[in-house]
């Protein structure tokens, strides 16, 4: 019987041929924890009687969610992580290195066919590299740190076939917001989302990361894509490791298949306070905004910063708007400096903050005031998400966010693209 991508990866990592709904214990290739989840994992590790980590080379800890630390409580948790990493010989990405979902792929340790778990829900991002990667909690992380394994129920697969080419001014972010709006926030619960079709093949790797990143926002366990020459060219920048791509069998079984033609897609916006409350930008155009954010694990990559700079070049952001930019990693930050992107953004009025999760999660770096509207390239607009439950978060592409920062109102970015 044919297998999906995820069935094949779970088969190769459990030593048996598995299909949807089987329960297996599988070995993991790489494990990641960030500063919101690692401290609890360290505690669970110790409570489990753990002494050493199964393979320190296959583990990374990342301080990105509250980096640099905003208060002594967080500082104590960061200290705990640094001490644990040093004692166990684990690589720790400290403040300024970037968002876990950017620095882990940049490490060259994850690629086609690998199985990765991370104590962060957006670990599904690495599915863009044809890996099965999924978010877990701290106790699962602790168990894997000790054993190098985790138990999985093999998920069914929801196949999204995207035909056509995205029109000018419409990006990967618009596509994934549209798909989430269509299937809703629990439309793919427990399933693996497999994205395919020429619209996906046509995306850059940066765009593919954006799509895979938000699979969790439809409830999915993973967001997977096939590997192609773009995948291998991207990986070659970071590693000489050889990976074996995993493709679905022609007779693989899918729980659901939906087909889309993206040729006439318009820029999309997710309205407060639900990620699936999605509409074309025209429906909310004109809504005043007070804060704009470009960054996060969804859209803080070089392509995103380039698009924003293209729109903001030579202009000033609206006087009633704060624009916060957080490059996804130090590497991206440096590249953006070399290309003059950072200068363009700062000249336009942007405040550039430390590479990391920035204001997305509401701990520091841009908590909005009561009643304010924020437009952000992040992946969640839950009430209170950015640290104030009386603020309103809209989600959109970097182009829409940049255009909105210029006008002070939610704006169709196509007005600013030549």
């Amino acid at each position: 019987m044919g297998q999906t991508i995820i069935e094949k990866i779970l088969s190769s990592h459990s030593g048996q041929e598995v299909y949807a709904n089987d329960i297996v214990v599988a070995r993991v290739d790489f494990i990641m924890g960030q500063d919101g989840t690692s401290p609890l994992a360290i505690r669970a590790f110790e409570e489990m009687g753990g002494s050493k980590v199964f393979d320190p080379d296959r583990v990374a800890l990342v301080i990105d969610h509250s980096a640099p630390s905003p208060n002594e409580g967080v500082s104590a948790l960061h200290q705990l992580m640094r001490r644990f990493a040093r004692e166990k010989g684990i690589h720790l990405y400290d403040i300024g290195e970037g968002v876990c979902h950017q620095v882990v792929p940049e490490s060259g340790r994850v690629g086609p066919g690998t199985l990765v778990i991370g104590a962060d829900s957006h670990t599904c991002t690495y599915g863009a590299l044809n890996a099965f990667s999924t978010g877990v909690g701290s106790t699962d992380l602790a168990g894997a740190l000790i054993s190098g394994q985790m138990w999985f129920k093999v998920p069914e697969t929801f196949k999204f076939v995207c035909h056509g080419t995205l029109p000018r001014g419409v990006y990967a972010k618009d596509l994934i917001l549209y798909l989430i709006g269509d299937v809703t926030a629990d439309g793919a619960t427990y399933m693996a989302a497999e994205y395919t079709g020429e619209a996906i093949a046509g995306l850059s790797m940066d765009g593919r990361f954006t799509i895979a990143n938000m699979a969790i926002e439809m409830g999915a366990k993973a967001g997977l894509m096939e590997a192609d020459e773009k995948t291998f060219a991207w990986l070659a920048r970071f590693t000489r490791r050889q990976f074996i791509p995993v493709s679905p069998d022609p007779d693989a079984r899918y729980a659901r298949i939906k087909e889309y033609d993206v040729s006439n897609l318009e820029p999309q916006v997710a309205r407060p306070h639900r990620v699936d409350n999605v509409c074309p930008v025209a429906e909310v155009a004109g809504t005043p905004i007070q804060q704009a954010v470009i960054g996060t694990c969804t859209n803080g990559r070089l392509e995103d910063l380039r698009i924003a700079a293209q729109i903001l070049a030579g202009k000033r952001i609206h006087r009633d708007v704060r624009l916060i930019v957080a490059p996804a990693s130090k590497r991206i930050y440096l590249q953006a400096m070399q290309e003059g992107i950072i200068q363009t953004l700062v000249e336009s009025g942007a405040a550039v903050v430390t590479p990391g999760c920035g204001p997305c999660v509401g701990t520091h770096n841009g908590v909005p005031s009561d009643g304010e509207n924020v437009i952000s390239t992040a992946n969640r607009n839950f009430k209170g998400r950015m640290g104030n439950s009386k603020a309103f978060i809209y989600l959109a592409s970097p182009a829409t966010v940049a255009a909105s920062a210029l006008t002070g109102r939610i704006t169709d970015p196509r007005e600013f693209l030549g």
């Binding site: 919101g36 489990m48 104590a119 829900s121 877990v136 629990d186 509401g362 839950f382 209170g384």
Partner: protein, 166 residues
């Protein structure tokens, strides 16, 4: 195991930021402290309304969002004995079992705020004493029953030194 208490009802898509806001979870590992803020953005007085053993009852997709294990732990430390919902988000569901918080998938339309419930985890039967009716829960996968019976994943590892589902 028999659990008994009153229902506190919420709607669909109760996300992890509602359960425990990110602005608190990064500060401390003291779950008793976090528990005081449980569900705060949906109901600022919620923590004060809880009597030990009460239930959170919700609609679809409970626990969607973050992987933060502080979410089930804050609920548990607020002395809620179980969460009953029509469906759960995947990571929350695992985290709840791993940390020993019972989660029960069932038709929650037959439960109103304030209803007195008895939940039998071994049979999966929920008795709504206020309405005089019973509701059948969807059974947990055997692996999860094993972890829950062991007292969570930490206790499972302490007992076996790794995974043991034979």
């Amino acid at each position: 195991m028999l659990l008994q208490g009153k229902a506190h009802k919420f709607g669909n898509d109760v996300n992890t930021d509602y359960i425990i806001s990110g602005k608190y979870k990064f500060k401390t590992l003291d779950m008793q402290e976090l528990a005081k803020h449980v569900m705060e953005d949906l109901d600022p007085d919620f923590y004060r309304k809880i009597n030990a053993g009460d239930f959170i009852v919700a609609g679809r997709n409970f626990g969607c969002g973050s992987s933060r294990e502080q979410a089930p732990l804050a609920i548990k430390h607020a002395r809620i004995s179980a969460v009953l919902a029509k469906s759960f988000a995947r990571i929350f569901y695992r985290n709840a079992i791993n940390t020993g918080l019972p989660v029960v998938e069932c038709d929650t339309d037959q439960i109103d705020p304030g209803d007195e419930l008895v939940v039998d985890l071994s049979t999966g039967v929920i008795t709504n004493k206020t309405k005089g009716l019973t509701i059948a829960a969807k059974p947990l996968p055997p692996v999860m029953i094993k972890i829950l019976n062991d007292g969570g994943l930490v206790a499972h590892f302490r007992k076996y030194g790794g995974f043991n589902f034979d």
